[in-house]
């Protein structure tokens, strides 16, 4: 408990958000919710639960909240077993340093791969159940009755026989002294008895997001803090040669110009605006390095050649696809491509770092506090036990803030040059666009062999291109194989499985890595793999005069859960009957399905394309089977959000390289979906039980293929290179 108390004290002492001169003046605490703990000194019941004397229940959340609602969903799961009063629930983040000191009692902090709930559902529920058992036992001890005679509901413990009752808050202090039950012996409720899990509960973090009081990393002010703006070499792999600090040091507010690693320079000033404008005025010389002439076009040629390279790593195969195709009556072949894309979180990368010779502290929005702690330790040269990271809610994550904490390293590198002074590093949008960790670039050649009746005898899918793991976790590449490349195409594993069976199948990958650094981008490799397979099957259906749903049904007989979500969207959309016209335009449908992050998802898109080639997406019907649905209204929000993100990628998302650098520098050159582009989204949440799937990512992957297949239905045109962008959609 002491670690949390210390943090609370520090935060109360040091943090003031807003201006003392007027307006807002709020004490702010990190982790949030802990201020009352410092006032009362209440010990935790266990690592997951603190109950204050006024019956406020503080639930600890190890994963990060970035909009996806995991904070609320995880709290629902703890509260379900705790049997507390939901109206009195608040939350706080334990820190990565505390997790380290307590032998990872809160488990994994990583918040990516849609894993917030699906990988912690068991132990957080057991944490809630164990706390309830301790609270009940504490009351039983006071009343000298067997715990089995007590009932508990909404934080009230009652003993019917004697008519006594008490509350969690009254017994929490004595409960905290009891031995904890053995976690795996703690019984959990039968899902049919759930009263909070599965309910359409409101989020716990909404009010502060509608009145401006939510403090993001970009907003946080630490007393005595200076502000830094940074510029990294615009060409990846290039170096900083020199800069003329004399040109800016006399500017108002500027304190220092510092070299950061071997490729970046930062200006530190009183305000960020001063730092940013001084940086703009700073003459900088770069050594652009060996990639100064690299371009997207040149790399596309590398990928094109790799589509036919003899060497490739096989990810999924059965039979002999190449032989089956060679001897088939008919062959269908197509080549697809998927570009680099930036995550473009609304809140640019930022961190505050404070360094002294024996301690390094970092305040930052991160999807993985433990990885941020490791980055702080490495960049500061201090052991992790002398470092701490305070997490803030993220202004968007999408994978950018999880695996690679480049901005944390930079902030610490700056702070090391100003010991004792907290420095906030905030990237400009331009820096954020140029120095992303980009969606990998790939191409795919698909070849199907058909028999004389038009049935598929063999399918070969050759993926050529960039491996995220090779760029981020190269130690996880074994024998040249990046297993993540085959998301949604795996034969088994329960995580991301192909939904079709073919008599002969070969899916292989020829790895080719450009100099652009890759990252896990919401949906990861499911995004392009779903486009490739779902659009190509649509091509086969068209080429053999089959209904795309009928063709899929034949291939999906051994994949009932994949098929169930597909059937659900087909039925809801009225597949097989013409869609009603909209504004005098004929409306056409396209289907797609996939399995990823443990969940089965499908979509039907309804689009029209005018004679002039103008695309309108009218309606999307989307189904998700995530096993257990913890908060259906938030799952719906994730599904809708997945179409904003996925359609942004499909319609506009592209980062191109010229002269070694990313050409798109802001939202004016990297357009995204706006309100006016947004279709109506009808969500079908259809949990079939028995497993826990993620919901933040899988649906993104069906956005593009459903729309592309609908465009084909409308126009006869097959768009094989994303984004759709300015490609002509006039009817073929």
């Amino acid at each position: 408990m002491s670690a949390i108390l210390d943090t609370a004290k520090i935060s109360r002492r040091h943090f003031l958000v807003g201006s003392a001169a007027g307006g807002l003046s709020l004490a702010f605490h990190i982790p949030f919710g802990s201020e009352a703990l410092a006032q009362t000194g209440v010990p935790e019941v266990n690592a997951w639960v603190v109950v204050q004397p006024d019956d406020t229940v503080v639930i600890r959340i190890a994963r990060s909240e970035m909009g996806q609602g995991t904070l609320t969903g995880l709290a629902q799961m703890v509260a379900e077993e705790l049997e507390c009063d939901w109206a009195r629930v608040t939350t706080e983040y334990p820190t990565p340093g505390q997790n380290l000191a307590r032998k990872r009692i809160w488990g994994n902090f990583s918040t990516g791969g849609s894993r917030g709930i699906r990988e912690s559902h068991d132990y957080v529920r057991r944490g809630g159940a164990a706390a309830r058992m301790m609270l009940v036992q504490a009351a039983a001890n006071v009343w000298q009755v067997p715990a089995s005679e007590l009932k508990v509901a909404k934080s009230v413990i009652t003993h019917a026989a004697s008519g006594r009752s008490t509350t969690f808050g009254k017994v929490a202090a004595s409960a905290a002294k009891l031995p904890a039950p053995v976690a795996d012996k703690v019984p959990l409720k039968d899902p049919k008895d759930w009263s909070l899990i599965g309910k359409r509960m409101a989020r716990l973090d909404t009010v502060e997001k509608v009145n401006g009081s939510q403090v993001y990393g970009a907003d946080l002010v630490v007393p005595g803090m200076l502000n830094a703006a940074i510029r990294d070499c615009p060409v990846f792999g290039g170096k900083l040669v020199s800069y003329e600090e004399a040109a800016v040091l006399s500017r108002k507010g500027v304190r220092k110009v510092v070299r950061v690693s071997d490729s970046a320079v930062a200006v530190v000033a009183d305000t960020w605006w001063q730092a940013k404008t001084a940086l703009d005025a700073l003459p900088i010389k770069w050594d652009l390095g060996e990639h100064a002439k690299a371009s997207s076009e040149a790399f596309a040629k590398v990928l094109r050649e790799a589509l036919d390279a003899p060497e490739a790593v096989v990810g999924n195969s059965n039979g002999d696809a190449r032989a089956a195709i060679a001897t088939s009556a008919r062959k269908i072949e197509a080549v697809y491509g998927y570009p680099h894309q930036n995550h473009a979180t609304m809140e640019p990368m930022n961190a505050i770092a404070r360094y002294t010779a024996d301690r390094c502290e970092v305040w930052t929005p991160t999807q993985n506090g433990e990885a941020a702690l490791a980055a702080a330790a490495e960049a500061s040269g201090l052991p992790a036990s002398r470092c701490e990271v305070y997490k803030l809610h993220l202004g968007g994550g999408f994978g950018r803030r999880g695996a690679v904490h480049d901005w944390v390293r930079q902030a610490v590198a700056i702070a090391r040059q100003m010991p004792g002074t907290p420095v906030k590093l905030l990237w400009s949008r331009e820096e954020d666009m140029l120095h992303g960790r980009f969606h990998p670039v790939t191409q795919c050649k698909l070849t199907a062999g058909l028999d004389s009746r038009g049935e598929i005898t063999g399918l070969h899918m050759r993926i050529a291109g960039q491996s995220i793991l090779a760029g981020v976790f190269p130690q996880n590449i074994r024998d040249g194989r990046d297993p993540v490349m085959f998301q949604g195409l795996n034969d088994g594993g329960g995580e991301a499985m192909i939904g079709y069976s073919f008599p002969h199948l070969r899916i292989d990958h020829a790895m080719r890595n450009p100099h652009v650094p890759p990252g896990f981008w919401r949906g990861v490799n499911l995004n392009q793999n779903a486009v490739y397979l779902e659009c190509f099957l649509d091509e086969v259906a068209a080429a053999t005069n089959q209904d795309p749903l009928a063709l899929r049904r034949k291939l999906m007989t051994r994949h009932p859960r994949h098929l169930a979500v597909l059937e659900a969207v087909a039925e809801r959309s009225g597949w097989g009957k013409p869609a009603p016209d909209v504004d005098g335009q004929k409306v056409f449908r396209g289907l797609a399905q996939t399995h990823g992050f443990g969940s089965y998802v499908a979509a039907c898109a309804e689009v029209s394309v005018s004679d002039a080639g103008e695309l309108r997406i009218h309606r999307i019907i989307a189904a998700t089977d995530c096993g257990h649905a913890v908060n259906p209204q938030q799952i719906e929000a994730q599904i809708e959000g997945s179409f904003v993100y996925g359609l942004s990628a499909a319609l506009f998302g592209q980062c191109t390289v010229k002269d070694g650098r990313i050409e798109q520098s802001n939202f004016d050159t990297y357009p995204v979906v706006h309100m006016r582009h947004m279709p109506k989204v009808e969500s079908i949440v259809m949990p079939s039980g028995g497993f826990w799937g993620g919901v933040g990512e899988p649906t993104i992957a069906v956005a593009a293929p459903a729309v592309l297949n609908a465009i084909f239905a409308a126009t006869g045109k097959r768009i094989r290179d994303l984004p759709i962008g300015s490609q002509s959609l006039r009817r073929a």
Binding site: G18, G67, G69, R203, V210, G212, A218, W273, M346, E640
Partner: protein, 167 residues
């Protein structure tokens, strides 16, 4: 020194005349509810009202704003999150990460003031703020809830709130 009237109070800002209003609000006045997203008036996260007009404060130098012009930020919309737009936002659980939502709300308030019964087209035209999480459909629904008098049940989301109410 520049004098600005922000949320009804006269404030003095010690920043260069070219400083965008956004950074004066955030760094001089501590009003961090208004967000930096792009710096080029493309995303709308920095939207505030100047004399009731939704304005992208990231490209508006403070020297161009008169001392008597009324600047309203998200913090000044209501003292207790009770503006009808804020209430609708809470009722429908509109925000996800929330970073763009101050700008969204300020844009929506201005739209509803000008057009209390906006059409879908009006909403499309006025709400040009960027959201990456994907709240557009709930933003649209919340605007319609306000236009229809605040009955959040009309949105059909059946959200259960901690106080026991359902919207």
């Amino acid at each position: 020194m520049t004098q600005l009237k922000v949320n009804g109070q006269v404030r003095v800002v010690d920043a260069g005349p070219d400083t965008p209003l956004l950074w004066a609000l955030r760094e001089q006045l501590g009003l961090t509810g208004t967000k930096y997203g792009c710096g080029v008036a493309a995303c709308g996260s920095c939207t505030v009202h100047i004399d009731g007009v939704p304005t992208r404060s990231c490209v508006r130098p403070i020297s161009t704003i008169g001392a008597q012009q009324e600047i309203v930020t998200i913090e000044g919309l209501s003292p207790d999150s009770s503006h009808p737009v804020q209430k609708a936002w809470v009722a429908l659980d509109v925000p996800q990460c929330g970073y763009c939502q101050s700008g969204m709300i300020m844009a929506a308030v201005a739209l509803l003031k000008e057009k209390p019964q906006p059409t879908d087209r009006d909403i499309d035209d006025a709400m040009t703020n960027i959201c990456r999480c994907g709240t557009y459909n709930r933003v649209r629904a919340a605007i319609k809830v306000v236009a229809q008098g605040g009955n959040a049940k009309l949105a059909g989301l059946s959200i259960q709130h901690a106080d026991g109410s359902t919207t």
